[in-house]
Amino acid sequence: MSVQDHTTAEDFFAPEVVADPYPLLERLRGIGPVVHHEAMDLWMVIGFDDIKWCAARPHVFEFPAEWQVGTFGVNVMQGFDDERHDAIRAVWSPDFNRRHVQGYRAMITPMVAELVEAFAERVRAGEAVDLVDAVTRRIPTFVITELMGIGPERRAEYSRWSDEMARIPQAMIDSDPRRRERTLAEAFAARDEMLDALRAEIARRDGVETPDVIGRAASEGATATMSLDERAANIASLVFAGYETTSKLLAHSVLMLARHPEQRALLERERDRIPAAVEEVLRHCGITMMTPRRAREDVEVHGVTIPAGATVGLMFSTANRDPARWEQPARFDVTRAPKQHYAFGFGLHHCLGQSLARLEADIFLNELLDRLPEWDVPEDIDFGTNFFIRGPKAVPVSAA
């Protein structure tokens, strides 16, 4: 670790880092505004304002398309920074428009209520139940398959494929080649099955556009701008983007409210505080750790020259605890007045599904507090091995 030359050799894959990355992240902040990890060959931008500057300049900091091609087989929306990006995003953005998303409440609420009721009943009966398996990983899968017009009998498959694909981002920068290759082989097999299924679903619509995520792929706009493979890959990227992230948001919120029972009690009494509480979970818990970019030219960020061709990591989790922006940023406090954070990114590629994620979290917390106003979780929670989309692997919940 060197303050003078802005480098670090920290092991991001160490188990204690996934369990709690914040000590490492704060050490990075102490090194400087831009920190170069030589083994991963990653230039990490740390501060809120610097990330905003970088994310606002997609023509200087392009998305490294090979990450998308590597993940999906072809480039998808997020990997383009030009009119192609706009044309592709425009196909699906109506379904994720903030106002339009509110209309999904009626579809989502009964399903969440049913899952939470079954879960709460078991907890009240004295069982310690894993929230992740019983509830939180099922909600986003249900929602996205409903939005895709896919029936319940196929849901488990999409869930399994998504679980496998969620391992890809971290594997891509794993410096252990054997571990990397093994993980990627398994994940790509699942991806190919999902793409086959999606191509078949799109073909089944037989060129007739229907108002669902798969049906949009049959529109004139979609077929004019993308091949069948590209349309399937873009839908896969939507499924992938909204599953692990949302599931972990819900799990983090239950964990944090167990650790802060007085804040949980406040939310139970004052339900209109829940949206602000969700923003605090997003800020505090660092679900999406970073997003990658590539510098197209030598560029100076806060006095540090990043060379052309460098892979740049915009470290959302450090920015969300920037002490220049938040008082006592490490403190979880649902009563903070929400301030813009980077849990959903920033700029051109900002999360398409953010309104949907917020809606799911709002419904889930209300249904949970209705049925189980108090709960306990153990001291020791397993965060698995996924550093880049971080969240508890399991959350055993018992009655308080």
């Binding site: 606002a56 339009h100 990114g345 920033f346 700029g347 051109l348």
Partner: protein
């Protein structure tokens, strides 16, 4: 109507520009700029679209005082 935006909370998504480019633009940092603070009535529908599409919900159209 008068267009009011909260630039502090803008996420530079550009949805507003796509919905109504006559009223909304982005500066070099991608943050919303209102180019026409008092757009004509025929743009109301497009302005509503921008308001609905904004992921950060930072756009308002307030009625001008009589």
């Amino acid at each position: 109507m008068k267009i009011v935006v909260d630039r502090e909370r803008c996420v530079a998504g550009g949805e507003c520009v796509l919905a109504c480019g006559e009223v909304f633009a982005q500066d070099d940092d991608g943050i919303v700029v209102v180019v026409d603070e008092h757009p004509p009535e025929e743009l109301r529908e497009a302005v509503e679209e921008a308001i609905e599409a904004c992921p950060a919900a930072i756009i308002e159209a307030v009625d001008d005082a009589a």
